[in-house]
């Protein structure tokens, strides 16, 4: 390290001096500040890229069925019948009782499987772990901890039933009495 520059040959010595004069010497302090600017810029760019990576995983458009839709006129649904027409396409059972019409979620409240409507047993039965629900959605057997959820049902201006799955009503929170949980028709 030190011994390398200890004995400059006469031919090298004059060549070094003009170099030092022409190039402006970078002082230690300014070099460090430029270095820190560089590192901060690099860290910011890297952090920005990691933020992009996180946002990249959440697309703006989902190719999933819409969360709110009309399902027809109230008279299309018979009293006392569990309507399974929208089970596969929309993920709801439409039930009309003497009290009114409600939309039950087809997601089991235990671990999220889809129960089956067993018309002879008059109950919803989940194939995964055996949870059972009444026609109202109240759980009565198996590991399900709470009743099926209901979705918001309203009438459109032309008298059709409109279901909004982004609003849900949970029995155990006393929400089934709220407006929208059941459609009085």
């Amino acid at each position: 390290m030190t011994d390398a520059s200890a004995t400059p040959t006469p031919s090298e010595a004059p060549a070094q001096e003009p170099q030092q004069d022409s190039a402006e010497p970078i002082e230690r302090k300014s070099f460090l500040s430029w270095l820190s600017v560089g590192w901060i810029a690099f860290a910011a760019a890297t952090g920005g890229f990691f933020t992009m990576m996180g946002r990249f995983m959440f697309p703006n458009v989902l190719f999933e069925p819409p969360q709110s839709f009309t399902i027809g006129f109230p008279d299309d649904f018979q009293i006392g019948v569990v309507d399974e027409r929208f089970k596969d396409s929309r993920g709801i059972w439409v039930v009309r009782s003497y009290d009114g019409l409600y939309a039950l979620s087809t997601v089991c409240t235990h671990l999220g499987c889809t129960p089956n409507w067993l018309i002879t047993d008059n109950k919803f039965k989940c194939p995964c772990h055996g949870s059972g629900f009444r026609k109202s959605g109240i759980n009565f057997e198996g590991p399900a901890p709470r009743p099926l959820e209901r979705y918001k049902v309203t009438l459109t201006e032309d008298g059709q039933v409109f279901v909004d799955k982004s609003v849900k009503f949970q029995y155990e929170k006393g929400q089934w009495d709220l407006p929208g949980a059941i459609l009085k028709v």
Binding site: M57, P59, G112
Partner: protein, 263 residues
């Protein structure tokens, strides 16, 4: 005469430019040459340069770590072969799996992959059990224990992501149930503790469309994008991470006092 010719042929090969450029050291005959040949090989240098007689006893190590690595290699090779036929779309995934066992020659390849995956989970767990019972997690090996725990979770996550790919009823519902647990992740899952705290006014930041479960599924339920994400995780992302972690694991064995055995 014939012996001489054979010798000269052998030495002609080992003395050739190709041979010496690949193997920098001549065939090791002494102890130091053997050490050097291990250190000069990219594959062998991760492994300890020398082992004590005690350390390689089967009844002590059970060879479960080595078997786990062997099974990982089998899984990598059979998995790459499966990728030539399997298409991760809702339309084709299930029928491609059926074709793999019924139409493709050597239809057992998918079963090899599946059974090897089951076996790897077992061997990794047994390896962990052995390390625990022999006290091999103690300092200076405590960091390698942590790396090992990460490798266990990665193994389980590889199993989990592979489970969806057949796209049959069992797969779809198992992943539905499994990913529903991610709803309860603290802060990151929309039904988890602390998620309600992450809100600006009335607007929740962690919702069904922005939580960790959504990032995993690419949607609000198990569908087309979930299949694709699990496929990419299973075939590229997780093997990439586990290979890095395995390299660290093997290297640390060498650095932290050689394989097994008391220090």
């Amino acid at each position: 005469m014939a012996d001489n010719e054979r010798k000269s042929l052998g030495s002609r090969i080992t003395g050739s430019m190709i041979w010496t450029s690949i193997f920098r050291t001549p065939f090791p005959t002494t102890r130091s040459e053997r050490l050097k040949s291990i250190l000069n090989n990219v594959f062998l240098h991760l492994h300890p340069a020398k082992l004590s007689r005690h350390a390689v006893k089967l009844k002590y190590t059970w060879c479960m770590g080595g078997l786990s690595f062997y099974l990982f290699i089998v899984l990598t090779i059979s998995g790459i072969l499966l990728m030539f036929y399997y298409r991760p779309t809702v339309e084709y995934a299930y029928t491609d799996i059926v074709d793999l066992s019924e139409q493709v020659p050597m239809g057992i390849m998918r079963e090899i992959h599946r059974w090897t995956a089951h076996m790897m989970v077992i061997t990794v767990l047994l390896h962990m059990f052995r390390v625990f019972m022999t006290g091999s997690y103690k300092p200076p090996r405590e960091f390698n224990w942590v790396v090992g725990v990460l490798l266990l979770t990665l193994t389980l996550f590889l199993s989990f992501t592979g489970y969806l790919l057949p796209w049959d009823q069992l797969a779809i519902w198992a992943i539905t149930v499994g990913t529903n647990m991610a709803r309860a992740t603290p802060f990151l899952g929309h039904e988890g503790p602390g998620a309600a705290l992450l809100a600006i006014g009335d607007i929740n930041l962690v919702t069904m469309s922005s939580d960790v479960r959504f990032a995993l599924l690419g949607g609000r339920f198990v569908g087309e994008s979930a299949l694709l994400r699990f496929y990419v995780l299973h075939c590229v992302a997780l093997p990439f991470i586990i290979m890095i972690m395995m390299s660290v694991h093997f290297w640390r064995i060498r650095r932290d006092g050689n394989i097994s055995g008391p220090l």
